[in-house]
Symmetry: C2
DNA sequence: CTGTTAGCGCCTTCAC
DNA sequence: GTGAAGGCGCTAACAG
């Protein structure tokens, strides 16, 4: 590997001048800068980051811990958002994938500390509570799409209640007046907030709550697993409650409800409105149009989390900030 | 930050002994090792990786460049596989996300070189040809799920032909004898190989090719975009060719075909068999059972690519290795 | 088995 | 503006 000294000899300057050029120090005569640049190119010199890190105070390295994040496609936007800001600010971003095992988390934290990472985003694949090792207290840390169980860490999470309100507003705007909300397991944080939001929207518009039917179709079992009754529930609710629109707790659920609607010879958007949270990759594109969906906040959460770490933007991001989720009419 | 010297003073040994303990050198008396370990714990010492890298010959850092990989859920298994091997061999794995912009790729390569990365896996989100910068020639590089356009790099790719053969074998084993294959755009490498494999399976079993109907239902447009005629094609093929099973080029296609089958009042697995390549996350779970799918090679490709880099396993992985794809009966 | 000496490649300090 | 001296935290090589 060619070093700064070899470049210096080749360029006919001292190695300190080369160092200055490499680090964009403006106090270098143009003539010398060009000589150095030429030498760097000719020798294909690459700065040794490890060596430079030994002398610098800050590593310029940030990290995002992805807790099985990447297995769900749209949450990747958290990383994309964080990366945008990191690159913009000229920081290195380490992506660390961890799974549920303690070993993988320990390993990640070990790396963070040994590489002298300056800030960490801990992100989960769905909005939930997570247990964060106290060791992360040693590094500025912010959670994204999750919130801490016991110890205190700042976090950005989706504003589920606002999402529920927005999606209902959107349906009402489209003229729907009798709405069924087939919710997730109501132990899930997202389900709780959305339910409040849906009800709020109805009240806000002065609509009778008799025209709103909410039930949980993802049901937690004693053994911790969950079952989905979305298909049967949708069929029953359509027959008995006769909604003019259905809000689905998640997209695969919307998918099943499409089958039900299909079965009944109804047309989505004409006979019945369907709305759904989340954007499950390519699925919606296959369905009929007139589905009402939400824009997801993952990208923005990633950006904000990174800005918080780099610039201490406590003005916009603080503990348990209820992140805003923006309603969007469907493609 | 506490250094090796402070630990040495605290433990009452020379700093070299501390270094030995940190690096698991067995030639340290147990009594001293324990003193050092105790001091490390008490001072919460963390080795400075940057400093150690300046003296070590090898960085022990490997990287995987993910070319928009993470936007497709199942391809994440490439990273998971690579990470498994890296961790097993005690190597650091850098995950670098790049997008289609040259800037993001340049940035990634710059990092690779400056951090003295020892090996690189370049992976794409679907099996395709990619243009690889010659600069990567400077580092041992292997492509996963893609192959190089002009310059020569080793690569691991799915054996699409074997996949086509396996999935057809599986259908025949289940008793289906008249099969329609609704393929992707045949300019796609996957489509070409699978078609050959499907035909091979028919021949191998001595079945008449009259009972096999293959057509491309994803069609490339002049402007480079693609359109899907899968829904209409499936309806027509069922009416005219009357297959007892349909092979779908990808899962979203299978989804559409489920609607078609549904419309016709047919039952999947009873009236008609449906088989599909790929495993699009949660979608298949929503469909009726009796779908025949394939196990994807992404995880294995990630593992093999990493082994190739770390141990030069040229015996199992070589240029354009036709990776084996394993048929699996569906859940 | 342990410690000393001499760097790694770079950045900081400070004199010129 | 530039360069020499010194040191970052660690490991290699060798002596004891």
């Amino acid at each position: 590997m060619v070093t700064i000294k070899q470049v210096a000899v080749h360029a006919g300057v001292s190695f300190k001048t080369v160092s200055r050029v490499v680090n964009n120090d403006p106090t270098v005569k143009n003539i010398n800068r060009e000589k150095v640049l030429k030498a760097i190119k000719e020798l294909d010199y690459r700065p040794n980051r490890a060596a430079s890190l030994t002398r610098r105070k800050n590593s310029n390295i940030y990290a995002i811990i992805a807790d099985e994040l990447l297995s769900v496609p749209y949450t990747f936007d958290i990383i994309r958002g964080a990366q945008e800001i990191a690159w913009q600010k000229n920081k290195e971003l380490l992506i660390l994938n961890v799974n549920e095992t303690q070993a993988s988390i320990d390993r990640a934290i070990k790396s963070l500390l040994e590489y002298r990472v300056e800030g960490v985003i801990y992100s989960a694949m769905y909005h939930r509570q997570v247990a964060i090792a106290d060791e992360l207290k040693k590094i500025p840390t912010i959670l994204a799409n999750c919130f801490p169980a016991s110890n205190n860490f700042p976090c950005v999470v989706p504003d589920e209640q606002q999402a529920g309100e927005d999606i209902t507003d959107a349906l009402i705007r489209k003229g729907y007046r009798r709405i069924a909300f087939l919710n997730l397991n109501e132990h899930i944080i997202a389900a709780k907030g959305r339910k409040l939001g849906v009800i709020n929207s109805f009240k806000k518009h002065g609509l009778p709550l008799d025209d709103l039917h909410i039930e949980s179709v993802i049901i937690g079992q004693d053994d911790g697993s969950e079952i989905s009754t979305s298909r049967e529930s949708a069929a029953r609710v359509i027959d008995e409650f006769k909604p003019d629109a259905i809000i689905c707790g998640q997209d695969p659920m919307a998918l099943e409800i499409y089958f039900v609607v299909h079965d009944k010879g109804m047309i989505v958007g004409k006979d019945i409105g369907i709305a759904s949270f989340d954007d499950w990759g390519s699925i919606p594109q296959l369905l009929q149009p007139n589905l009402t969906t939400m824009a997801l906040p993952h990208h923005a959460m990633g950006r904000w989390a990174m800005e918080y770490l780099i610039e201490q933007r406590t003005d916009i991001v603080h503990h348990s900030l209820p992140f805003k989720l923006i309603a969007r009419d469907s493609f």
